[in-house]
């Protein structure tokens, strides 16, 4: 690990026995491994009923009639509720944000009322004593549909001949953004080579092990709704549930214990979840909804599905003069609520060309409606598109002028001493390390030796390729992401820490845990700053009644924002403890420190008093303290980045692949990542975040695709036909780091959760094209299936 910038002063993090920067086991491991986690899917409450949704088999249809008479007579059925009936307790919503100028969408209901707009949209809720009984009854609900023409292909969605999905909106264009910086036309004119390509990205989704799950419990006596849900943003769910059910936020409690994976899938408000809250209110009893796998494929947000034209201009010496893109994406029939479905395209515009010095950049992004499942933010929103387009173009330019892919990047990546500076789209960078990262990865992979291997194997008809992809990643977002657009999504997070009566620490944080280690990193920070061992720190998260107000865990923000709040809150607690200790010990706070759960002398390290004993005095014998002393052994702090709207991180990935040119199969031989997330709190957690992210990116590169037919039917909504990446096909992934802490916070941590996904597909695509160099074919479409590769090679 090399450090290109060290914090000048010692902070609370550099204390003796610090856990920061150490791989320590996650405190929640035993709970998870011994099967004692609390997943919503497993929850049972007294009088709890189960809901199954009858879902539309059509992509677009009018609902002529719904006859539920037979279903209502089925054994175990409690109620059959239609969209019209549910509308009495819940209002519709529109997924727009005011800072995304021109973004439009239509009102969406919890259950479709007179029209269905995608295959899988719910048309009725069947509530019964078990899920099986509800499914039995669902088969007896007779719905008459009048099929309407479906808008399936995003490329023709804007054609005049294509029906408009929501006539009130006038057309199928949800959002358009154009950006023009520098002097693009002159730059292309001055280029020695201009290369163009069209990049195609399959629609895919984030397959969570535990599907979306919610138990809603309306307590009429308290006039309070408790929502148990696997979510990344409990306070956002609280706000929105309250808003649409006509409640005050205080009447809604959201509890989120263990979550079986989220990846951005569980940060949105889904119609069926809203319907479940409303059903509980309507039927005055706990209602449980757990999406099954088929429902997950048909209703969990999808992502990507872009078709992006790109153009790059380059001088013979490798200098990149300009980038231009024209991106098109289809988002389903509604913009998702409340984060909207325009963010991904917006990110693509923001991020293209981001690692490079070239300032000439023109972009257009269009977001269109279609009759397919909704699309929204999934891990590394927009990044894989921007990275694949940028890095694909850079490789094409290099190929055109006959320059090595590493060399062209070395010549164009922003220099490490050029910061602060801005991207071609105007985003501000505090401190990145592209050049150091590239140098490091070239070393890690032994680039020259690989090139020699490649050449030797070529002679034997074995076609291997190397792909490089530099990237930037948006992390630690401020209010610039959602808040400024009017969404009630908090960008600040809060942490409360208190010393209990035996000298242990209770820490309540507003960030959430979905497997990435939020609990662990919070305990590491609190333990380090306070001077107590981690086993003395209990972290409570995921409960709007119990934690400070905050955003939760998404957009790679948990460690950087929630971690800093934990650090600052613990500093206050530490000071308060030392103040009391000084009184008890007739010393001064400056002469004292806390190490290993006890107060000691700074001067000689001598033991003075156990925290346990100090807590006993404060809580049980305050009468022994001098008059007027009111100890405060609880502290709360909140944090939000104020200087930069986003803490950008950077990194580079490399892939080494072999293409079987007879079969079109790609074998992933090895993958490398160097990334810079600033201060590393727990190296193992960071590395595994990177690896997990890479695997999801490799899934997009080779396997994952939601395949729709021309009538808008999803044809592979199961885990046999939708191919998630599995360990057997995954390469070893070596991870290295460069460390440039952010100065926005004392902690210095930026995010790391999405870096892996951002660049993996770009690296693999570049590697495949490198392998296929002798065949004079370029593939710019993912997933890179055998069918795609054999077709490109002209073998079939």
């Amino acid at each position: 690990m090399s450090s290109i910038r060290n914090p000048e002063t010692l902070s609370a993090l550099d204390r003796p026995n610090s856990y920061i920067g150490k791989t320590v086991p996650r405190p929640n491991l035993d709970r998870l491994l011994q099967g004692r986690a609390s997943y919503v899917s497993d929850m049972e409450l007294p009088r709890m009923a189960h809901v199954a949704f009858l879902r539309s088999p059509h992509a677009h249809a009018k609902i002529v009639s719904i006859d539920a008479a037979a279903a209502k007579l089925m054994p175990g059925v409690i109620a059959v509720v239609t969209g019209g009936e549910l509308a009495a307790v819940i209002t519709p919503w529109v997924g727009v944000l005011s800072h995304l100028k021109g973004l439009k969408s239509a009102p969406q209901s919890a259950i479709a009322i007179d029209r269905v707009c995608w295959q899988g949209e719910a048309v009725a809720a069947i509530v019964a004593i078990s899920r099986a009984a509800a499914e039995d009854a669902a088969e007896q609900v007779a719905v008459k549909y009048e099929e309407l023409e479906a808008v399936a292909d995003m490329r023709t969605a804007l054609d005049p001949a294509t029906p408009v999905i929501h006539s009130s909106l006038g057309d199928n264009l949800a959002f358009e953004r154009v950006h023009d910086a520098g002097a693009v036309d002159q730059a292309f004119a001055a280029s020695d080579a201009v290369v163009e390509a069209e990049f195609v990205f399959g629609r895919h989704t984030g397959v969570t092990l535990e599907p979306r799950a919610v138990v809603a419990d309306w307590n009429a006596a308290e006039a309070r709704l408790t929502i148990y849900q696997g979510t990344q943003a409990p306070h956002m769910v609280q706000n929105i549930a309250a808003l649409h059910l006509g409640l005050r936020e205080q009447q809604v409690r959201v509890v989120c214990k263990d979550v079986g994976g989220s990846f951005g899938i569980k940060v949105h408000i889904y119609a069926d979840e809203m319907a479940t809250y409303a059903l509980s209110k309507l039927l005055r009893r706990p209602i449980k909804f757990v999406a099954d796998r088929v429902e997950s494929f048909n209703t969990d947000i999808h992502a990507r599905d872009h078709c992006c034209k790109g153009k790059i201009g380059v001088k013979r010496d490798g200098t990149i003069l300009a980038f231009e893109i024209d991106d098109l994406t289809g988002i389903g029939p509604y913009s998702m609520y409340p984060r909207t479905s325009a963010i991904e395209a917006n990110q693509v515009v923001n991020l293209v060309g981001g690692p490079y010095t070239s300032k000439n950049y023109r972009a257009r992004a269009r977001v269109v409606f279609q009759n397919k499942n909704v699309m929204c933010q999934y891990r590394a929103v927009g990044h894989p598109i921007a990275c694949s387009v940028t890095e694909g173009l850079v490789d094409l330019a290099a190929m055109k002028i006959g320059m090595d892919p590493v060399e062209i990047r070395r010549r164009n990546l922003i220099a490490d001493d050029a910061y602060p500076c801005a991207s071609p789209s105007g985003l501000r960078f505090e401190q990145l390390s592209h050049q150091a990262s590239l140098t490091k990865i070239v070393e890690m992979m032994d680039y020259q030796a690989l090139r020699a291997d490649q050449a030797a194997l070529r002679k034997r008809g074995i076609h291997r390729g190397i792909g490089i992809a530099s990237f930037i990643e948006v992390t630690n977002p401020s209010a610039a992401f959602y808040g400024v657009g009017g969404a009630k999504i908090s960008s600040q997070d809060g942490v409360a820490v208190r010393l209990d009566a035996q000298g242990s620490v209770i820490c309540q944080t507003s960030i959430t845990e979905q497997g990435q280690g939020s609990e662990a990193l919070t305990a590491q920070i609190v333990g380090s700053v306070l001077g107590v061992s981690m086993d003395r720190v209990r972290v409570i998260l995921g409960d709007t009644d119990m934690t400070p107000y905050g955003g939760g865990t998404w957009a790679s923000r948990g460690a950087g924002i929630g971690g800093e709040a934990a650090l600052q809150a613990t500093k206050v607690l530490r000071k308060n403890i030392l103040d009391v200790a000084a009184v008890i010990l007739q010393s001064t706070p400056a002469e004292l420190d806390i190490v290993d759960n006890a107060v000691i002398n700074v001067s000689d390290g001598a033991f003075r008093i156990e925290l346990n004993e100090l807590a006993r005095i404060v809580y049980f014998r305050p009468d022994t303290l001098p008059p007027g002393i009111q100890p405060e052994l609880m502290a709360t702090k909140h944090f939000v980045p104020r200087e930069y709207p986003f803490a950008f991180t950077n990194g580079v990935q490399a892939a080494w692949v072999e293409v079987d040119t007879d079969t079109g199969f790609v074998k992933l031989l090895k993958h490398w990542v160097v990334e810079d997330c600033g201060t590393i709190i727990n190296p193992q957690l960071v590395d595994e975040q990177i690896r997990g992210g890479v695997v999801q990116g490799l899934g997009a590169a080779l396997f994952e695709k939601c395949i729709y037919d021309e009538r808008g039917q999803l044809t592979n909504a199961n885990l046999a036909d939708y191919l998630v990446p599995m360990s057997g096909e995954m390469p070893d992934i070596d991870v290295g780091h460069v460390v440039s802490p952010t100065k926005e916070s004392e902690l210095g941590a930026k995010g790391a959760g999405e870096a892996g996904t951002a660049g993996a597909a770009a690296a693999v695509t570049n590697a495949v094209n490198d392998a296929l160099k002798p065949f004079a074919t370029i593939i710019t479409e993912i997933p890179l299936t055998p069918q795609v590769i054999l077709t490109a090679l002209g073998r079939i």
Binding site: E135, E139, D292, D662, T663, F665, M726, G728, L790
Partner: protein, 294 residues
């Protein structure tokens, strides 16, 4: 994804199982390893009224060699095929093939009888039966029937089994000295059903083939014994030209489907690649590797 309600009976003897099937006919379904049946029920693709669980019928389990015949009980699990020394010795092709069937957890429950009765055209074991010239032993109302594997598979998920029949055993001729096998499939991920696969059992004579049985799978409604291609390659000196001709013949013997993984053209292409690789491997002739006009 919950199965609709069904009744369940655990058969106490072969006779009891056959009786239950005779009584309930096509309203009943045999439950063996459950690895194909249960997912289909949970997706409500099938909704049998009665499940006849044959898991207790010890007489249907086990692998034995009887003279020149290897007898495999219908209840023999994939995992047992993989472990059995009889299989390695007498039908090494099966051992090679089973490693490609699904994943360990599924192989621990799935059975050879279930796999053959299921008759998924992309399945490994049915093609092996063709290549090995196996006989499928069936018990039904009229007593025992012995059906040649070539006759047994009649369509997608369709066999000569009637609703009242039970597949009880498989008989495979013990591999003779000098025989050799080749197994390879193309699947996107380990354990997936194949896009195209080949299970071949051959007799070599010097640098030629005295006998060549090429069982292709995922190339049509049923596994296909590529007889025309095999005939051209049997007894002849294998040249790249002959391989190219046999490849062309092979392509017209297959009637592959279009699905999300591959077009018919791609399946034919991959089948030709497999044929070339099979010959190159078995004859140790790397020059044939790309000689199939692929």
């Amino acid at each position: 994804m919950k199965a609709s309600a069904f009744a369940y009976a655990r058969a106490t003897s072969l006779a009891n199982a056959l009786e239950l099937l005779a009584t309930h006919g096509d309203k009943a379904k045999v439950l063996s390893g459950g690895q194909s049946l249960i997912p289909a029920m949970n997706l409500r693709l099938v909704s049998p009224e009665l499940i006849v669980d044959i898991g207790d019928l010890g007489e249907l389990r086990g692998i034995a060699v009887k003279g020149e015949t290897l007898v495999i009980g219908a209840l023999t699990r994939h995992a047992d095929l993989l472990k059995s020394s009889h299989i390695v010795k007498c039908a090494p092709l099966l051992a090679a093939a089973v490693a490609h069937v699904a994943h360990p957890a599924i192989r621990n429950r799935g059975t050879i009888g279930g796999s053959l009765a299921q008759a998924d055209p992309a399945s490994e074991l049915p093609a092996c039966m063709l290549a090995l010239g196996a006989t499928i032993v069936v018990r039904g109302k009229g007593g025992e029937r012995r059906i040649a594997a070539e006759e047994f598979f009649t369509g997608i998920y369709e066999t000569k089994l009637g609703p009242q029949d039970l597949l009880v055993a498989i008989e495979v001729p013990v591999a003779s000295p000098g025989s050799a096998h080749f197994f390879q499939e193309f699947a996107r991920r380990h354990g997936d059903y194949a896009i195209v696969g080949l299970a071949a059992q051959v007799m070599r004579q010097g640098d030629r083939f005295a006998d060549l049985r090429l069982g292709f799978f995922a190339v049509g409604d049923t596994p296909v014994l590529a007889k025309a291609a095999a005939a051209m390659l049997t007894g002849a000196a294998i040249t790249p030209e002959l391989l190219a001709e046999a490849s062309a013949a092979l392509a017209s013997e297959l009637n592959p489907h279009e699905d999300q993984q591959a077009t018919p053209a791609m399946r034919r292409h991959l089948a030709r690649v497999l044929l070339a690789r099979c010959l190159a491997t078995l004859l140790n002739r790397p020059d044939l590797q790309t000689g199939a006009g692929v």
